[in-house]
C-alpha cells in the first residue's frame, strides 16, 4: 500500500503545502519492507540495504568514506526514532484535541490547538512526503482549489478562532471533521513507520523546515485565525536543529567551521524567539511589532544561508 505514495512525478502539486512534497525530508519509501522497527538504538537495518533514491534524484548519500557512511547511517536511524516519537505524540494529542472539538468544548480545543500542532510542524517535511495526507491535514483555506473539500487542522482553527460574520460548524460537521483528523493522523503514523531516511534527506529536510519559517511563519500566514504562528516557528526550528544535531558527527568530520556557524546562528535565532515566550507558549503573531518581526526574519535568513550548505557538507 505504500508504493503509490511515492510516485511523486504523477502527483500534481496543489497549494503551497503540497508544493514542497517533491523534495521533502524525502523519504525513500519503505517500498521494501515494512516492519522495520526503528528504535533509537542504532541503525537497525537502515542505510546500507536501503532502496535506491527516487528516479531522477542523484544519489546524495554515496561516499567512499566508510566512517562517514556509518556516521550518516546512524544519524538517519536516530532521526527516524525522532520522527516516530513525534508522530506518536501527535496522534495522542490529536485524539484529545478532536474529542474536545467534537464535544463542543471550544476552550479546551483552543488550548490544545497550537501545542499539538507543534508535533506536526517538527516533522512537517516527512509528512509532506505523503502527497495526499499533507493537504488533508494541513491545507489553509487560501490553498483550496475551487470545489475542493477542506479538512484538517485549519478547518478546525477557523471554527475555534472564528472571524466576524463566520457561520459556526454544526455539531455533526465538527464530529465528522474530528473523526477524519484522527483517522488521517493515524494513517500518517502507519506510513511514517515504513520510510527510510538518509543523511541527505535530513539535511534537506532541515533546510526546508527553515524555508517554512521564512515563507509561512515569520510572515504570519500559517495561522490565519489563531495567530499561533510562533508555536509553529519554534517547532520548525526544533525539527531543523534536531536534524543538524544528529548530523553533527559527520559534519564535524567534514566541515567543522560550518558546524560552529550553525551552532551560533541557531542559538541567536532561539534567543530572539525566546523573548516572545509567554507562559507555556508564545505571544500571538499580531502582538509582534514590525521591528520584532524584521529582527526574527533577519535571523532566519542568517541561519538559512549556512543551513542550505549542510547537505553537501555531510554527503561530500
Amino acid at each position: 500500500m505504500n508504493a503509490p505514495y511515492f510516485d511523486r512525478q504523477s502527483r500534481a502539486p496543489r497549494g503551497p503545502a503540497a508544493r514542497s512534497i517533491t523534495s521533502a525530508l524525502g523519504l525513500v519509501a519503505g517500498a521494501v519492507l515494512l516492519p522495520l522497527v526503528l528504535t533509537s538504538c542504532a541503525g537497525a537495518g537502515v542505510g546500507a540495504g536501503a532502496p535506491a533514491s527516487p528516479a531522477g534524484s542523484p544519489a546524495g548519500n554515496v561516499s567512499g568514506d566508510a566512517t562517514l557512511q556509518k556516521l550518516n547511517d546512524t544519524a538517519a536511524a536516530k532521526y527516524s526514532a525522532y520522527v516516530e516519537d513525534q508522530v506518536d505524540q501527535l496522534v495522542a494529542g490529536t485524539k484529545a484535541f478532536a474529542a474536545a472539538f467534537a464535544d463542543g468544548n471550544a476552550a479546551t480545543a483552543r488550548s490544545l490547538y497550537a501545542p499539538t500542532r507543534m508535533h506536526w510542524e517538527r516533522i512537517e517535511p516527512v509528512a509532506e512526503a505523503f502527497g495526499d495526507l499533507d493537504p488533508k491535514l494541513d491545507l489553509r483555506q487560501a490553498d483550496l482549489a475551487p470545489g475542493e473539500q477542506w479538512t484538517g487542522w485549519h478547518r478546525a482553527e477557523k471554527d475555534l478562532f472564528a472571524p466576524a460574520g463566520y457561520q459556526p460548524m454544526t455539531t455533526s460537521e465538527r464530529a465528522v471533521l474530528a473523526k477524519q483528523l484522527v483517522a488521517d493522523t493515524e494513517d500518517l503514523r502507519r506510513r511514517t513507520r515504513t520510510v527510510t531516511l538518509t543523511a541527505d534527506k535530513l539535511g534537506n529536510g532541515a533546510k526546508e523546515l527553515l524555508d517554512e519559517v521564512a515563507t509561512g511563519k515569520v510572515t504570519g500566514e500559517e495561522e490565519t485565525w489563531s495567530h499561533t504562528d510562533l508555536w509553529d516557528f519554534q517547532a520548525n526550528v526544533d525539527g531543523a536543529r534536531t536534524a543538524f544535531e544528529i548530523l553533527r558527527p559527520a559534519l564535524q568530520q567534514n566541515n567543522a567551521g560550518l558546524a560552529t556557524e550553525l551552532d551560533s546562528k541557531f542559538a541567536a535565532l532561539q534567543t530572539e524567539l525566546k523573548k516572545h515566550a509567554k507562559g507555556d507558549g508564545f505571544a500571538y503573531y499580531g502582538e509582534l511589532t514590525p521591528v520584532q518581526v524584521q529582527k526574527l526574519a533577519a535571523l532566519v535568513d542568517a541561519l538559512g544561508e549556512p543551513l542550505s550548505r549542510l547537505t553537501s557538507a555531510v554527503v561530500q
Binding site: 542523484p58 533577519a298 541561519l303 542550505s308 557538507a313
Partner: protein, 422 residues
C-alpha cells in the same frame, strides 16, 4: 572568485586588459563612450582606481540601489563583509560569476554560489558604488564598531524639509550599494548576490529600481527626460569638468585626521521623490514650461536660446515680468541662487506599481554626489521645498538617505579600508 566570464571569455589576463579598455571607453576624453560600449571588449567599467566608479562614469540606463542594516555588532565581521563584497564586486563588474564555483560549477547537493540569472549576459557597464550611512558609526547615541570618533562631520542627519513624507522603510541605512548597468537584469543580479553574501551580517532595509537615467554625467550623452517629460540635468556637472568635480564633488584632502579616509570620496544623497504625474498631466503646456522655466521640446531656458544657453533671470517680456518666473524650478535650483554650488546628479526614473487609488506610484529617484551635503544639498533643498512651486505642488519626498562614499579600491584592498586602519 570565479575566473570565468559569464560569456565564456577567459579573463585571467582580462582583468587588466578589460580594465584598460574600459578606462578608454570611460576615459572622459569627450568621445561617445556609449557607442563604444557596444561590444564585449569594452562593456566593462574599470573597477579599481583612485575613485569609485559609478559617479563620473557616463550614467548607465538602469539602476538598482539597496540600503542595508548591519545586524552584527562585530567589527571583524563587518570588515570581512566589506572584503567579501569587494571581491564579489570585482567579479561582477568584470562580468564574471561570484564565488569560486559560480552558478553551475559547484556540487550538486549544494546551492549554487552565484544565483545564475546573469549567465550569458555581459557586464553591460555594471558599476557598484559603496557608501556608509550615519548609523554605521553610531546609533541611538552609542558608537558602533569602534567608529564613533570616525563619523565625518559632513555625514549629518538630514533635517526635515517642508513637505517631506518620508517612509521609515524607505529611509536611512547603514550601508548602501548603487548598482548601475545598461541591463536591468545585470544590476539586479549584482544586488541580489551581494545581499545574499551579506545574510547573517546585513539585512536589506530598502531597495529601489530605476528604469531610466535622468541625468547625463558626460558630454557624450544626450540629456534624458524625467517623468514630467522635460529634459533633466542639462546643467549637471559632467565628467569632463575636472575643475568643477574638485570644487563640488570630491572630498578634498587636508581635513581632520579622523576624516582622512574620505579624501577622494564623495557624499551620496538619495531621495525617493514621488511625482504626482496625473495632476501634472492635466496642467497646460504653458504652465508646465513656466513651472520648469524651460521649453518642453528643446529644454531651452524661457529667456531664449538653446538647451545649453545660460538662463537670463533678468530678461523681461512685454508685460515687464521676468521671462523665467521667480518661483520656477530652474531659477530656484540654479547655482547663482545657491551660493554657486553645483552637484553631480545621477538620478533615475522609477515606477513602483500603483498606489491603490488609480495612480502610478512613479517619480524620480534622485541621486546626487557632492563634496559636502551641508553646503551642497541642504540649502538648495530647503529653498526648493519652500519656493519652488513645482516641488511644493507636484512632488513629495517619500524616501531618503545620506551616505559617505569612500574613495576607490586598489587591488588587494577593500571598500572603506581607510576607515578601519590608522
Amino acid at each position: 572568485m570565479s575566473q570565468v566570464s559569464r560569456r565564456g571569455l577567459l579573463s585571467l589576463a582580462g582583468a587588466g586588459g578589460v580594465g584598460a579598455a574600459a578606462g578608454l571607453a570611460a576615459g572622459f576624453l569627450g568621445h561617445d563612450a556609449v557607442a563604444e560600449a557596444a561590444g564585449p571588449a569594452n562593456d566593462t567599467v574599470a573597477f579599481y582606481g583612485d575613485r569609485q566608479s559609478g559617479i563620473t562614469t557616463p550614467a548607465q540606463d538602469r539602476l538598482h540601489m539597496a540600503a542595508f542594516d548591519v545586524i552584527t555588532e562585530d567589527r571583524a565581521e563587518l570588515i570581512q563583509l566589506l572584503k567579501d563584497w569587494t571581491e564579489a564586486a570585482a567579479a561582477l563588474t568584470a562580468g564574471r560569476e561570484t564565488g569560486s564555483t559560480g552558478a553551475v560549477g559547484g556540487p550538486a547537493d549544494a546551492p549554487p554560489e552565484d544565483t545564475g540569472e546573469a549567465l550569458g549576459l555581459n557586464a553591460a557597464r555594471l558599476t557598484l558604488t559603496f557608501g556608509f550611512g550615519p548609523t554605521l558609526f553610531e546609533k541611538d547615541g552609542t558608537g558602533r564598531f569602534g567608529l564613533a570618533g570616525r563619523r565625518p562631520e559632513a555625514l549629518i542627519d538630514l533635517p526635515h524639509f517642508p513637505g517631506d513624507g518620508l517612509q521609515e522603510q524607505r529611509t536611512g541605512g547603514d550601508l548602501v550599494v548603487q548598482a548601475c548597468s545598461d541591463d536591468p537584469q545585470v544590476a539586479v543580479h549584482a544586488i541580489r548576490n551581494l545581499a545574499r553574501i551579506g545574510f547573517g551580517k546585513t539585512r536589506v532595509r530598502w531597495s529601489q529600481l530605476g528604469f531610466g537615467r535622468t541625468s547625463s554625467t558626460s558630454r557624450s550623452q544626450q540629456t534624458p527626460r524625467n517623468l514630467f517629460g522635460f529634459k533633466d540635468g542639462t546643467s549637471n556637472v559632467k565628467a569632463e569638468d575636472a575643475g568643477l568635480l574638485d570644487a563640488h564633488v570630491w572630498v578634498p584632502g587636508g581635513g581632520k585626521a579622523t576624516e582622512a579616509w574620505m579624501e577622494g570620496g564623495s557624499y551620496l544623497v538619495a531621495r525617493r521623490i514621488r511625482m504626482h504625474i496625473e495632476i501634472w498631466d492635466r496642467t497646460s503646456l504653458r504652465e508646465q514650461e513656466s513651472l520648469i522655466g524651460r521649453t518642453k521640446a528643446e529644454g531651452a531656458p524661457l529667456s531664449g536660446g538653446t538647451e545649453f544657453t545660460a538662463p537670463d533671470f533678468d530678461a523681461k517680456g512685454p508685460d515687464q515680468e521676468t521671462l523665467i518666473a521667480r518661483d520656477s524650478h530652474v531659477r530656484v535650483a540654479h547655482p547663482s541662487h545657491n551660493n554657486g554650488v553645483r552637484m553631480l546628479r545621477r538620478g533615475y526614473n522609477f515606477t513602483d506599481g500603483s498606489d491603490g487609488l488609480g495612480h502610478l506610484d512613479a517619480g524620480l529617484f534622485f541621486i546626487a554626489f557632492v563634496k559636502d551635503p551641508r553646503t551642497h544639498y541642504v540649502p538648495m533643498q530647503l529653498a526648493m521645498a519652500r519656493q519652488d512651486t513645482l516641488s511644493v505642488e507636484y512632488l513629495q519626498h517619500t524616501g531618503s538617505g545620506l551616505f559617505a562614499v569612500p574613495p576607490g579600491v586598489r587591488p588587494g584592498g577593500f571598500f572603506g579600508e581607510g576607515l578601519f586602519t590608522a
